[in-house]
Amino acid sequence: MHTIIQSFQFFGNHLHLFRTKTGQQLELSLASIGIAMALAIPVGVWLGHIHRGSFLAINVCNIGRALPSLAVISIGIGILGIGFTNTMVALVILAGPVMLTNAYVAVEQVDANAVQAARAMGMRPWQVLVRVELPLATPLLFAGIRTGTVFVIATATLATFAGGGGLGDIIANEASYGTAGVVAASLTITVLAFAVDGLLALVQRALTAPPLRHQTDALRTVASVTDLSTEAP
């Protein structure tokens, strides 16, 4: 308890430091999340739409999850050198697969009857995708984005080892900042992760069709932790 109080004091005394480091951490995280989303979601959604490539879509998640981030950063230092890009690549590799697999499963599992009804109404394939499949897929699709985002914000800490800055600089330098500093920085990251997750939840809610809103939270843990992996061959 004493440590926690000290960490708040530390936070209060080093506001400027925290503003800089949190900014770096957010910048790195958001850039990685953005790139991961831009790469992974269109592919996942498309594969789900055409009902092909389940082997690829599901295994990419398992392989992505299996890659140790620090190891990827380490290989990155050897190839790309030290800096922002290196850690960003590692974080994209961390978050992309979860997003791709969830996007795939989300679109793929849309009720076939709904899709058929849409076709019977004369919708074109892209209309089916935009008006029927994507709205129905939103909860699971967002589950992937949110899981990936939380991973990235927590893991961006490792950027410090590749000279990428962020709150990891405080955590990995206990000698200078002391336990209070480490705790304060860690709690900042936790709060940051919950806050960004909460923001995404709001975005998700706004984008989800009202009748589907209640199932969101129940889906989340199941989708990210269990279902995808049990399905995987």
Binding site: A71, S74, G78, T157, F161, V183, T190, T226
Partner: protein
């Protein structure tokens, strides 16, 4: 190549790596010759330590998660508490968790294991509980009708039926721990991460790539091996698995 001297933290590049080849002196991207020459003296032990760290964490974590899942089935408040703990750990940086545990139990493998076991819980617990809950009520009723006791129902009916998600959980937990164990080297737990931190001290590129690459290969091999084990243990799921 000369015999390997004991590993000192943050040494200078050249003296540390024996009789240097051109590639090592120039610090080229990857010196395959150096890696092959030094595999058994420098890489093998950390690799084995890494496997040991992971095996212990999952081996200890599994019975704890199982017990927690059984308790949660009876007391719902326990599940809530456990889930909160899991959600918190999910976002708490592993690096900081390792460091903070050092204050409690000191710099050693035990500290690393406590942290690693904690991280297995959030995956294993959820999957075991989900697996047990997904057992069809008909199967449970049939078991009761056949006169099986609670323990017999658990061991002969529920556990086999819950095996696919449980195995999936073991699989995710294992690769997650392999990943986190690289970070555990920061508090002196050894393993492949110690080579990565060593390389951060020296800037030797071959070591960065070799140590990172070994960790990646280890994770992929473990993942693949567990898939095979899962298929062997649950032959009835095979047809429904591949769509």
């Amino acid at each position: 190549m000369s015999a390997w001297p004991p590993i000192a933290a943050g040494g200078v590049v050249i003296p540390k790596f024996g009789k240097p080849s051109e590639c090592v002196v120039q610090n080229h991207q990857f010196c395959a010759g150096w890696f092959i020459d030094h595999f058994s003296s420098r890489f093998l032990t950390p690799l084995l330590v890494h496997i040991e760290l992971t095996a212990i964490a999952v081996g200890v974590g599994l019975p704890i998660a199982f017990a927690a899942a059984l308790i949660s089935r009876r007391y719902h408040w326990f599940e809530r508490g456990f889930s909160l703990f899991a959600a918190f750990l999910y976002t708490f940086p592993a690096l900081a968790f390792f460091e903070l545990m050092v204050q409690v139990t000191g710099i050693n493998k035990f500290t690393a294991e406590i942290a690693l076991v904690s991280y297995t819980q959030l995956i294993l617990f959820v999957n075991i509980l989900t697996g047990l809950r997904a057992v069809p009520p008909d199967a449970l009723e049939a078991a009761r009708a056949m006169g099986l006791t609670h323990r017999q129902t658990l061991l002969r009916v529920e556990l086999p039926l819950a095996l696919p998600p449980i195995m999936a959980g073991i699989r995710i937990a294992t690769v997650t721990i392999i990943s986190l164990a690289t970070v555990a080297a920061y508090i002196g737990a050894g393993g492949l991460g110690s080579l990565i931190f060593d390389a951060i001290g020296t800037g030797f590129k071959t070591e960065f790539i070799a140590a990172g690459g070994l960790a990646v290969v280890l994770a992929l091999v473990a993942d693949g091996g567990l898939v095979l084990l899962q298929r062997t243990l649950t032959p009835w799921t095979r047809r429904s698995v591949v769509r």
